[in-house]
Amino acid sequence: MADRGETVAGATPPRRRRKAGRAEARAGVLFALPWIIALVVFTLVPLILTFVIAQTKFQIIGLPTWVGLANYEAMLKDPAVWTSARNSALYAVLSVPIKLVLALILALLLNRVTRLAGFYRTVFYLPFLMPAVSGAIVFMLLLSPTGGPVNLILGALGFDAPDWLRDPSVALWTLVLLSLWPLGVETLVFLGGLQNIPRDVQEAAELDSPKAWHRLVWITLPLITPMILFNLVIGIISSFQVFVQAIVIGGTTGTPAESTLMYMVVLYRAAFRYFNIGYAAAMATVLFVVVLLLTLLVFRTARSWVYYEGESR
């Protein structure tokens, strides 16, 4: 009996396959056609145009004029680009691993059968329901040195409350913390992975290695590596694209002292505040290439540490 979803080549008799082949292929292209159109019109063409515009000087009003690599040169000399690239990289390096680890721990904790399970899951999913802007605003209110509860609690516990929004060495952490709040989605992805582990594997593991720690490292973790990969990739991509929270908290100048100036904010600023579209397009091109390389790198290394169970595609 062929397993669900398995499409092992040669499992179907040749004659049936050939007949099915042509009609299937036609249908395949037809069904995917709307999406292919969308890909071309809304993604490929604008992407190519962006690459082209990156080599022009374009101020929206008026025509673009060719400047070759001048925008890229200007980028190399622009302190704002370097500062924001460093901040974005720092943000990614801080928030992505911390988020992954915390989400994993949380998912493991949520994986227990307990009466309050439903309640806990709802709580951790709630931040998903709040838009990024509101979340950032509420966070700012919470961290307010005057009326904010966070500093009050920290003070009550005896800690020295930092000046979250005004201290340049701390402000980036505000953004990182804000990124950790909607942990719910990553957690539930991990949770899904944990719950997908078949019963028989769990029981066999329990027999083999009664120590929970042992089971975790040698059985559970390897089985959820696909989820780790997925969260890692999505995490990297979205951390470099962080924008709304950065603008709400740091404004267009990344106060205080440009510590919260993110790459996307500089891009946005160049495009819509200075009307320097060519420059923004150059920044976007560089970002695309960097993130693409990072993602490819992750996928490459993934072959050695990700384990797919029974999947043949």
């Binding site: 979803g5 992407l47 209110l141 509860p149 942990l183 719950q195 989820m227």
Partner: protein
């Protein structure tokens, strides 16, 4: 060897302690997660001075119920109209997404054709591109078509597809047994009928999940509607709130009330369909 049923087991004291510690930790973490929400809701029922009062008010005193009426009757914030706009916008996008993405996902997951893997690879690449990169040419395009000041640019693309959901749905389609489809083919059914009558019912829960996700994400979407729409009456709620906050930066309590009401429908929707959410995310992996 079968273990005695849970209820019949007597829990040793060590396990009870573990359970207490577990719940203590979880409740503390839950409290931290709930804090921003709680703060938002109580701020909605205070006035500006009370929000920043020192010492802090952990519970509004008095509870300003009139803020609710205030929000609904503001002339510069047509909340009700914007709420309906949001419902329309998010609803249409959800429907369009389900339709278009299930078509594409069926093609990638169940049909074989030349170039399929290449196009799917392109689909993954599309995920890597931040929307702001492709935004300007698309915007100019819609403007040239004269459709700038409408919901067309916001909704129409989703009737063609979206990379994220296509990716997600494909995973589900991969799980549909091939025999079902092959049997239908032998019977002479067209691919469309197979898709509509055989395969879709098999992934019903996945479709509900995609629809709900699309609804929620669209509900929050504010940059695109802001750029394309001009009149306050046309705005969805997300943009209305953003505009309100920009124009009335110091009216905290109103802003919080608006944010609470924006989150409320989603919360209701979530609680109502909770089981789908959890299930859906369980199979989101590769």
């Amino acid at each position: 060897m079968t273990a005695p049923p849970l209820a019949a087991r007597r829990k040793p004291p060590r396990k009870t302690l573990a359970r207490i510690v577990y719940h203590a930790v979880m409740l503390t973490v839950s409290a931290i997660f709930l804090l921003p929400f709680y703060w938002m809701v109580i701020s909605a029922f205070k006035n500006n001075a009370e929000i920043f009062a020192r010492p802090m008010l952990w519970f509004p005193d008095p509870i300003r119920w009139e803020n609710v009426a205030d929000l609904f009757t503001r002339p510069d914030f047509p909340f009700l109209q914007q709420f309906l706009n949001s419902c329309f916008y998010a609803g249409m996008v959800a429907v369009g997404t389900c339709l278009s993405c299930s078509l594409a996902a069926y093609s990638f997951g169940c049909l074989r054709w030349r170039g399929r893997n290449f196009v799917f690879g392109l689909t993954i690449c599309a995920l890597l591109i931040p929307p702001i990169v492709t935004f300007l040419p698309v915007f100019l395009g819609w403007s040239k078509l004269g459709l700038k000041d409408s919901y067309w640019p916001l909704i129409a693309p989703y009737f063609l597809g979206d990379a994220f959901y296509i990716f997600m749905l494909r995973q589900f389609f991969l799980g549909v047994p091939r025999e079902l489809m092959d049997a239908a083919r032998l019977d002479g059914a067209s691919e469309f009928r197979i898709w509509w009558q055989i395969v879709l019912p098999q992934v019903k829960s996945a479709l509900v999940i995609v629809g709900l996700f699309a609804f929620v994400y669209t509900w929050h979407e504010f940059f695109t509607p802001l750029i394309y729409l001009q009149n306050r009456e046309d705005f969805p709620l997300s943009v209305g709130l953003f505009t309100f906050r920009s124009q009335r930066a110091a009216e905290w309590s109103m802003a919080m009330m608006g944010a609470t009401f924006t989150a409320l429908p989603l919360l209701v929707l979530f609680l109502f369909t909770q089981r789908f959410f959890r299930q859906g995310l369980a199979t989101k992996g590769f």
